[in-house]
């Protein structure tokens, strides 16, 4: 049985991924290209007795190595030499889309051009003569509407390298090739040569299209009308805020919260009870029962409850991304974001960070400059995620009765201020460089297919499940070990190694007003998951089960915590929790998205230092101003 390799190329927003998913179905896997975090999608299909490996290359506008994606595509085509290329082209946007096609033809790789979105082209008044196009380009041209699977059968039939190898260059292409040969051999400077080659390519495209494409004038679309509202000078921002509000409301209130509560109840209640019963019946040793229940189920469970939230958020973002709305958000927000040294494309990941930092960091993938992406990843954790709210709520109720919302709001704002400040600092220090010009296609508005949205959601969410999951599993075991043993054997938590570590950590907060060993331990477990800060304090201060509702918890902890914290030190502690090292799930995501341990360690460590300093300034400053009582 022969195996052939087919590479899918095309501009972004041409339906390339839809075609890839339709061709390969469940037989696909995703990894990273060696050395970079750009997705590498590989799928398999069978045609008769032929095994076909399909590589979905990143969407690019050209092969000029202007970006990581372009470099990957070019390197892949030149070095790996696939048997053939299927070039997916947006039929309603032929002139620009064919630019990449011309570059592919110049490379001489056997190619099939697949004109996708033929329905949209028709709606826009574009009439394409496929036979003429075939003749002018000299390669097979197939039309399709991938969202309704039209034309995919012909596409599969065209994948056959014996046919493709017989391709002969069209007279137009021969003329173009000799043109660029002449330009390359002239004695002009590099810039002029590049310019003339690009012009020559567009000239070739004009000739190809001159008798193949007729554009019917005066077809106005609903697209323009919709766009005029969405990017309207006055309406644009309220619409954006409304969409944002809807995303958060759906994620955290409608869908996420009930499911999370259910899982919380299931994992903390039914599953725990059932496992405890089963372990007891099996006669498992007491330490093993404790490891499974208090360590693994409690630890991994605390993070698993976030899974529905994260998947819901990803689902909504994937949907919005597919509609073309995200590009408009970047368009209307670019000016404001540029003030803080980022591009309009950074706004979304930052806002998602108020929900959960993990999807925020993964959302930074949408940024095309590596530098903007790194800066966004480094500052996104300062957006107060949902898991920090229980900590704020508890302390605000205890120490600032009647002022809760003001205190909590001040923390959210402080996070934003710090994020902006750190963004500006990174921009002028370790991530210095020319900021890249903003050049963005505003794709047509579309309704994405459910399949594409679901696949994207799963692709994004799976990483969180697998990578973060493994780290959290091991961390849970380690924390359990540390809290159940000391060097002479099993021990109570306040005699455990964890307590010993707390006693070592605690003193570094002496000048912050919360140098107790309990706070030290809470800070450590907070790295596992931020909401663990509250439950840890509960355990350490001898309250068996801290209620989830802040008010109830507060009354339980009134006497004990009230004795160790003052309102000033409580505020300093909240600021520390806001700013310090994000949770393990985020650290796992750092590794995945930043790619190197060096950056991961930096991203995890500098917030700790920053939190220590700012919390110190607040406590000592507060003392000086007389807020110490």
């Amino acid at each position: 049985m022969s195996v052939i390799t087919v590479a899918l190329t095309g501009n972004p927003n041409t339906g390339k991924s839809t075609i890839f998913n339709a061709l390969t179905g469940a037989r696909q896997h995703i990894g990273n290209w060696p050395g970079v975090t750009v997705d590498k999608k590989v799928g398999h299909m069978t045609k008769g007795s032929q095994q076909i490996t399909v590589i979905d290359l990143p969407g690019t506008y050209s092969l000029s190595a202007y970006s990581i994606e372009e470099k990957i595509v070019k390197d892949y085509l030149v070095k790996e030499k696939p048997d053939m290329v299927v070039n997916v082209v947006d039929a309603s946007n032929l002139e620009r889309n064919l630019y990449l096609t011309v570059q592919l033809l110049e490379l001489g790789i056997p190619a099939v051009v697949n004109l996708n979105m033929m329905d949209e082209a028709k709606a826009k008044g574009h009439h394409i003569n496929l036979d003429v196009l075939r003749k002018n380009l000299g390669v097979p041209v197939i039309s399709s509407v991938a969202t309704s699977k039209k034309g995919l059968h012909q596409l599969i039939n065209s994948i056959d390298h014996h046919v493709v190898n017989k391709q002969i260059k069209s007279p137009l292409l021969v003329e173009h090739l000799s043109n660029i040969e002449a330009i390359k051999n002239s004695n002009k400077d590099h810039d002029t040569i590049e310019e003339e080659i690009i012009e020559s390519r567009y000239n070739f495209i004009n000739k190809v299209l001159s008798d193949a494409l007729v554009i019917q004038q005066g077809v106005t679309s609903w697209q323009d009308k919709l766009d005029n509202i969405i990017t309207h000078r006055l309406l644009g921002f309220p619409i954006f805020i409304a969409v944002l509000y809807a995303i958060f409301e759906i994620t955290f209130t409608w869908v996420g919260q009930p499911i999370s509560d259910f899982l919380d109840g299931f994992i903390g209640g039914t599953l725990t009870d059932w496992t405890a019963g089963a372990l007891l019946a099996a006669g498992a040793a007491e330490w093993l029962q404790s490891l499974v229940i208090d360590g693994i189920i409690a630890g991994v469970g605390a993070v698993l409850v976030f899974v529905p939230l994260i998947f819901t958020l990803f689902l909504l973002i994937s949907f919005l991304d597919g509609t073309g709305y995200m590009a408009r958000v970047a368009f209307i927000m670019d000016r404001a974001m540029r003030r803080i040294g980022l591009s309009g494309k950074s706004i979304l990941p930052m806002l998602v960070g108020f929900g959960c930092t993990v999807p925020a960091i993964m959302g930074a993938r949408a940024l095309d400059s590596e530098r903007d992406r790194k800066i966004t990843i480094l500052i996104a954790p300062f957006m107060s995620c949902g898991a920090r709210l229980p900590v704020y709520a508890l302390f605000a109720v205890l120490f600032f009765p009647g002022q809760e919302s003001k205190v909590i709001l001040s923390l959210y704002l402080l996070g934003i201020v710090i994020a902006i400040a750190m963004g500006l600092i990174f921009k002028s220090t370790i991530l210095k460089g020319e900021s890249e010009p903003f050049l963005m296609e505003l794709p047509p508005y579309r309704i994405p297919t459910l399949r594409t949205v679901l696949i994207q959601t799963w692709e994004k969410g799976k990483g969180f499940l697998v990578k973060a999951g493994t780290i959290i599993f091991s961390m849970s075991v380690v924390i359990w070990l540390l809290s159940s043993y000391n060097f002479s054997g099993p021990a109570e938590i306040n005699e455990s190694i964890l307590a010993t570590i707390g006693k070592i950590i605690g003193p570094i907060f002496t000048l912050h007003g919360f140098g107790s060993w309990e706070a030290g331990v809470a800070v450590i477990t907070g790295i596992l998951a931020k909401e663990a800060v509250v439950s840890t304090l509960g355990v350490l201060y001898g309250v068996a089960e801290v209620a989830e509702e802040a008010v109830v918890a507060a009354t339980q902890l009134q006497g004990t915590i009230g004795a160790t914290f003052t309102s000033l030190s409580a505020y300093a502690f909240m600021v520390f929790v806001l700013l310090y090292t994000p949770c393990m799930a985020v650290i796992g995501t750092f590794k995945k998205e930043l790619g190197s341990w060096k950056w991961t360690i930096f991203a995890a460590a500098y917030p700790f230092v920053l939190a220590w300093l700012i919390s110190l300034i607040i406590y000592q400053g507060g003392l000086l101003l007389g807020f110490g009582s």
Binding site: Y61, S62, S64, Y66, S92, N93, E95, R96, Y99, K124, H126, D191, E194, E195, I198, E199, Y202, I215, N228, T231, H232, R233, L234, G236, F237, A327, F331, I332, D334, R335, A336, G344, E434, E436, P437, F438, L439, M440, E441, L442, P443, P444
Partner: protein, 75 residues
């Protein structure tokens, strides 16, 4: 000398030269901003920057800083 920055929304201009420098130069040209291209300015973002144009029958957005480096004549 007229640049794309001076072109009002609704007006169409023809590119005479691209003065954008560095790597961005090739990017802009590959996206169709080359000598002879017809560009219609569609709108300006609510905060005054960037702009949205129609070029080669698709919508593209870039900032005024770059628009100022694209020499045009009104058509």
């Amino acid at each position: 000398m007229l640049t794309l920055k001076d072109v009002k929304p609704g007006q169409t201009a023809v590119v005479e030269g691209v003065k954008v420098t560095g790597q961005a130069r090739g990017r802009f040209m590959a996206m169709g901003i080359i000598k002879g291209s017809k560009i219609t300015v569609l709108k300006v973002a609510p905060l005054g920057d960037p702009i949205e144009v129609l070029v080669k029958s698709y919508n593209l957005s870039f900032r005024k800083a770059e628009a100022e480096q694209i020499i045009v004549t009104l058509s």
